[in-house]
């Protein structure tokens, strides 16, 4: 039986991972990911999780050991944040190329410098094109739920790709929330054992990671890009299956607020919940406003997104990462390119907010709405909340 408990979201994620019974956890500590891997190492130390915990000497080695482990046929998990994710960067590309379904939690944190342990999405946005399935959580329950779904999605024979589960560092990872925690029997019913396709085994030798000469490199890349695109229906299928098991339904893109609203916020991650509150009070005030929340970031849910925003005149896209020297924030860039050349393209206002742990209140989101509605956002993007006297 599942039970509802009050717990820190990091601990709920660790519990979700424990319930998935990984064989190997390979991790290096970095704030704000630490509570997750600390908890997992306690589970291993107390024999509550039968796994090898490899306390590696860097994130680069965390991901490298994870690949070695996954290639040997072990269900493998790791977690990181910011600088740690960046240190993994080189190896992140290689995981999908080898079709290794490693699952990783990313407690999103701002990239240095200046050094900051606080939240934004600059870490994961720098890893946009590494070929991983990337999903964002809004709250603790979702972090627990999606952590379990991630193993099922990644290990599906039609997918076999690594998956990153993003949760906002501190703002989400360190919150105490009421979370419905499933028991082992329920998770076992949902998540089958991992049956790898090709493993490193002397009884059936394979060569993994050979040289890709120009005659084959492109085809190899296109194959795993295709695998990533093919994962989209599997993500939806697994989320639907999860709803059947738990009654908790997640879509790759969600919509709330006034139906047929002409102005829509677009959010990703935990800021979405603040925006939900802002939308609720704006609707109460009689405003014609709604919200679209992106849950799946890679592969991008194009059709679902277009359906969700159909009929809107204006989108207020909130980005939680800067793209210095670029045209706008990474999420807005994606969305603008989707609408390019279309007659029904809405006006797109891009607001970059919540950088480096800067709080953005519900009231501020209402202010952003008012500004956008009045046509006050003329620039490609507006960086919100910059103090002129700083």
């Amino acid at each position: 039986m599942s039970k509802r408990i009050g717990t820190e979201v990091s601990l709920a994620v660790a519990e979700a991972v424990r319930l998935c019974n990984p064989d190997v956890v390979s991790a290096y500590p970095i704030t704000p990911q630490t509570h997750i891997v600390e908890e997992l190492s306690h589970y291993v130390a107390n024999d509550e999780l039968d796994a090898a915990f490899i306390p590696v000497e860097s994130e680069h080695s965390a991901m490298s050991a994870a690949l070695g482990s996954s290639a040997t046929g072990a269900r493998t998990y790791t977690a990181t944040s910011a600088q740690g994710l960046a240190l993994m960067h080189e190896i992140l590309f290689i995981a999908p190329a080898m079709r290794l379904p490693v699952v990783m939690t990313i407690a999103n944190r701002a990239m240095s410098g200046p050094i900051s342990i606080w939240n934004d999405h600059s870490d994961i946005m720098s890893e946009r094109d590494v070929g991983w399935i990337q999903i964002f959580c809004e709250n603790g329950q979702e972090a627990f739920d999606l952590s379990i779904c991630a193993f099922k999605i990644a290990e599906d024979k039609r997918v076999l790709l690594p998956m990153g589960v993003n949760l906002d560092g501190f703002m989400l990872s360190h919150m105490i929330e009421p979370i419905e925690v499933m028991d082992q029997a329920e998770v076992d019913k949902f998540l089958p054992d991992y049956h790898p396709q090709l493993i490193l085994d002397p009884s059936d030798p394979v060569t993994m990671g050979p040289v890709g000469v120009p005659e084959v490199y492109l085809e190899a890349k296109v194959q795993y890009e295709q695998a990533l695109l093919n994962s989209r229906p599997v993500v939806k299928e697994v989320l639907a299956d999860w709803a059947k098991h738990t009654g908790r339904e997640y879509k790759v893109v969600e919509r709330n607020g006034k139906p047929d609203a002409k102005i829509l916020y677009v959010t990703m991650g935990s800021l979405g919940e603040s925006v939900m509150s802002a939308v609720d009070s704006l609707v109460e005030q009689g405003e014609d406003v709604g919200q679209v929340r992106l849950r799946l970031w890679r592969p991008f849910p194009e059709q679902e997104f277009m359906d969700a925003v159909a009929g809107a005149d204006k989108l207020i896209v909130i980005d939680r990462a800067l793209s210095p020297g670029g045209v706008c924030g990474p999420v807005a860039t994606e969305i603008k390119s989707l609408f390019y050349g279309r007659d029904d393209a809405p006006e797109i206002n891009n607001v970059i907010a919540g950088i480096g742990g800067r709080d953005v209140s519900v009231n501020e989101f209402q202010d952003i709405y008012a500004l956008s509605k009045a046509g006050g956002i003329k620039e490609n993007y507006l960086t919100w909340g910059v103090k002129s006297n700083a």
């Binding site: 190997v24 390979s26 680069h60 070695g68 040997t72 493998t76 490193l200």
Partner: protein, 325 residues
């Protein structure tokens, strides 16, 4: 690491029992006279087929794995350059846990990591140290050809003093490589792992028996293998094996092992050859002046004396008669 393992029961190779099956097929793309591939083959002859190989980016990775061809008869993985020890750690941890959980059958394979000197002494030193310190049961083999050969002969920290490479060129104010060769075997030994050894294919029985001892270790083993690169060193391809012997004989690359903390020189030469004999047959040293060679000789002698002292101090050398009486 604290685990000392008794290696005395290792499966010794003799001239009569020398294994002949190499886990690397012929037809690979190594250069003529490459001693690195020879060394790698010899290691796999001694290990047998129940192994999983993790290979760093480098010459050996390139020449054995151009897709869709592979020279490997055993399971093999290449991930990147600096992380082979970490990849091998993950394999080893996975094998053990899968066996414990009843998810894999059959005898546990030994994990062998192969990496060049750049991948070991420079960019991969951290992941090597991590793997040694954590005590994974694996054999890490550094194939040392003393420079970044795959990228076109650039200096590494394993390049010997005075050697000409494309990034340590001799010039008006340069004598070539300005620093002394990094001693990675000693660094590995400082991790107190059960077994560390240096070897060279010129002494194949010595090399293969060191591999066998490493196979018996219930913890990390580190082998530093001297591997002549005729292309990069500027010597005749047929000189590769002989040059390794000369390096051992002149003391530039002494052959020794460190077994559970006890240092022992495994090849001692009553009449060491002068360093000059070794240097003068390689184009990479030909710019050196006689006084440079004297400096090198002096430093080599000093290093060798230190090795002998370590041997005596750790109880690796047979005691001389005075001590017995």
């Amino acid at each position: 690491m604290r685990n000392e393992t008794d290696l005395s029961g290792y499966e010794k190779i003799t001239a009569k029992t020398i294994p002949t099956e190499c886990m690397i097929s012929s037809g690979h793309r190594a250069c003529q006279g490459c001693v690195e591939i020879l060394a790698m083959g010899m290691v796999t002859k001694a290990t047998g087929s129940n192994i999983i190989v993790a290979n760093a980016t480098g010459c050996m990775e390139i020449v054995t794995s151009p897709y869709p061809q592979s020279a490997w008869k055993v399971p093999w993985i290449h991930v990147a350059f600096e992380n082979t020890a970490a990849v091998a750690s993950g394999i080893e941890a996975a094998l053990k846990v899968l066996e414990r959980k009843g998810k894999r059958k059959g005898p546990l394979p030994k994990v062998i990591a192969f990496a060049g000197d750049g991948a070991t002494a420079d960019i991969g030193l951290q992941s090597l140290s991590g793997a040694l310190e954590r005590g994974h049961e694996l054999i890490y083999v550094c194939l040392d050809n003393e420079a970044y050969m795959n990228t076109g002969v650039q200096r590494s920290s394993s390049t010997p003093f005075g050697a000409m490479t494309t990034t340590s060129p001799p010039g008006k104010v340069s004598k070539g490589q300005y620093s002394w060769k990094k001693n990675v075997a000693a660094i590995a030994a400082a991790h107190n792992v059960p077994y560390v050894a240096t070897a060279c294919p010129g002494y194949h029985m010595d090399l293969m028996n060191k591999v066998r001892k490493a196979m018996a270790a219930k913890g990390p083993a580190y082998l530093h293998v001297f591997a002549t690169c005729p292309t990069g060193w500027g010597c005749k391809p047929e000189m590769g094996v002989e040059l390794g012997r000369m390096a051992a004989k002149c003391g530039v690359f002494p052959l020794y092992e460190v077994e559970n903390g006890v240092w022992r020189i495994t090849k001692k030469f009553k009449k060491p050859i002068p360093v000059l004999d070794y240097l003068k047959v390689q184009r990479r040293f030909r710019h050196l002046a006689p006084e440079d060679v004297e400096d090198i000789q002096a430093r080599v002698d000093k290093e060798y004396a230190r090795l002998e002292a370590l041997e005596a101090m750790s109880g690796g050398a047979p005691k001389d008669k005075d001590d017995d009486e």
